[in-house]
Symmetry: C2
Subunit: 379 residues, 2 copies
């Protein structure tokens, strides 16, 4: 018997309270009961986003939220500066291509964080209607410094919209959405929000809402202006994902009970413990600049079959981690520690990792990863 530990960088474990709420009989969405429920969730989202403005909820996964940002803020022929340092950076570029937006791609080596000097130089080209970036690049475990990026943009190109994919960042570490003067922030339900996938959330600044009113890109289901009109009245333009919204209210309650500062501190601690454990095992962390507190990406040690690591973790130990994607397949593995995750999950994961690596022929001193993790938790 092995308990299952879902330690991927999304989807993340769903608490029983949330599962229970989603398992209740459905309520109809065109009722006062739903409206009261949805209003509570909207207030909770504003709290989580640290904003006074509307956070729009979409029945879609996070990629749908990214598409909504592109389709609402940019028009065919516009230019967007894309910080592309991983698979999700590439998604911005692909979205630009789909919508006829010229992507000025600032390539960042996978695993690195964007350099402010390079960014400043690139902004000199001018004409960027928006900058599209990840806060946390899930495919590499690297973080970009959103605050610094936003500051550089405001100094060098004040009208450029700062659009942040915060899918594995929001509710993981501090993103001061309004204080940093961001323009669009997107997240998804299956990350820090401790829900199954199926909801995307998009916040826009007033500057971005003005841009949305001028965009000529075709959109309907993802038209944020249409949704805003409905959601301000605590309803939705299209049929909402009612069961996921029932879970959302409970998940937000749990997050408020814990408190934002505690949530951020917990994720930081889980990331430090995971990082300390893998380093104590002689493994190298993949990101070289800023590490995301959501996911620890680890280099596969020489001589070990990298693709076998997640499979064996799953099959022999019941621990689901993620491998590398695309060019990183077999070269890294990724341990997610965001959302409904605590120290016991990290210990279970490190224990399973020690066994797995030993079984795959890697020479290590058993227990030293666990000891290093525990040392962080004991502090």
């Amino acid at each position: 018997m092995n308990k299952h530990h879902l330690m991927a960088p999304g989807p993340t474990p769903v608490p029983h309270r949330v599962l229970e709420a989603m398992a209740r009989p459905l309520i109809h969405h065109r009722t006062r009961e739903f409206e009261a429920h949805f209003e509570g969730a909207r207030r909770g989202l504003e709290w989580l986003f640290q904003t006074n403005g509307d956070v729009i909820t979409l029945a879609a996964s996070g990629s749908g939220g990214m598409e909504a940002a592109v389709a609402n803020l940019l028009s065919p022929g516009d230019s967007a500066l894309v910080i592309e340092g991983g698979k999700f950076g590439e998604r911005w570029t692909e979205l630009c291509a789909a919508y006829g937006v010229e992507a000025d791609v600032l390539e960042v080596e996978w695993g690195r964080s964007v350099d402010m000097g390079v960014l400043e130089a690139r902004l000199e080209r001018g004409g960027h209607k928006a900058l599209l970036m990840q806060a946390s690049e899930t495919s590499t475990g690297a973080k970009h410094d959103v605050q610094a990026v936003a500051r550089v943009v405001r100094e060098r190109s004040p009208d450029t919209l700062v659009v942040v994919d915060a899918i594995t960042a929001l509710g993981v570490y501090d993103l001061k959405v309004e204080e940093w003067d961001l323009d669009a922030v997107i997240t998804g339900s299956q990350k820090a929000l401790m829900l199954p996938p199926g909801l995307a959330f998009v916040w826009l600044s007033e500057r971005a809402w003005r841009a949305a009113s001028e965009s000529t890109s075709p959109r309907y289901y993802f038209d944020l202006g249409i949704e805003r009109k409905s959601q301000m009245k605590n309803t939705t333009a299209w049929t909402p994902a009612i069961s996921l919204l029932a879970g959302l209210a409970v998940a937000l309650d749990m997050m408020r009970e814990e408190g934002l500062e505690n949530i951020f501190a917990r994720h930081a601690r889980l990331a430090r413990a995971t990082g300390a454990a893998v380093e104590a095992l002689g493994l190298a962390i993949f990101p070289r600049d800023l590490r995301s507190e959501a996911v620890t990406a680890v280099c596969v040690p020489e001589g070990v079959d990298g693709k076998a690591i997640p499979l064996r973790m799953q099959d022999a130990h019941g621990v689901t981690i993620a491998g590398g994607q695309d060019g990183l397949s077999g070269r890294i593995f990724r341990i997610g520690h965001l959302g409904y995750v605590d120290s016991s999950d990290v210990l279970a994961t490190v224990g399973a990792l020690e066994s797995t690596l030993a079984d795959l022929g890697y020479s290590l001193q058993r227990g030293c990863g666990l000891a290093a993790a525990q040392e962080v938790f004991d502090k």
Copy 2:
């Protein structure tokens, strides 16, 4: 104490078995376990759609599925013939406008079904890349004769794609998707499929797949070609709505246990019983030609406050029905009887309706609606 009866034309009641499946801890979607699960669901969907081809699953509500059809099959400047006989017909027209498609609107009086002579004449105009229609117009309770429409299109304009919103039709009554030579059929999870909202399903004919490969409309999240490549390998391009898919497999199992013929017969019986009951109460059915087996739309009798009917049904009796939308607000009410609904739900609804109408000052002979419904069930 009043048990809740969800008798809206969507969302519909979710069976306990399905709720339980959705309440299980999440599995990761990039695993062999998920792939095996998804393959089972795909086979079930093919059975439900009566087709050998791929049915694409999207994490979106039904409107997202409609948008996918427009964005994948039509290009800016194309012309589409829209059969517009209600609020969901209007949605096709709005989608055309959003995508720069010229909508040639064939207006059908709300509550009527499209006339084949009128349709033939309209097709004479030529140049229609697609015909967009509802199988069952949820806002009016009217049905269009999909088989007859498809036959007329094939005779008069063989290259026109027949695109059918079957959101409240598929799994309610017989739609011979391949035999009738349709090109696109869309449904959503929260109707006959007995699930919460959040999944849309789109089937395309080979003719439609060819059109999709030529369309120049911007699309990404709803790009059916991208999804098809992934789903043929039992995975999804974007993160799927995992918990809803867990429910989908169980719902499809339940539908297969009942059998398509029995499902269609049950819905026909529920519709006949509901219709007989309201007519026995002296009320008029709103649709004048073909009635949908999914929903019975009833004219509000003179002297009764139409908007009060659904509210009182809900508050005093725990029965959720729907009012009229837009121009029909206060003029009709709609009783849904699709999905996980049986004769006991109809009796509960008719009983509540009798009390509600009497309370609102309508003169009726108590019990005669119930007797008429029961007579249908006894046959």
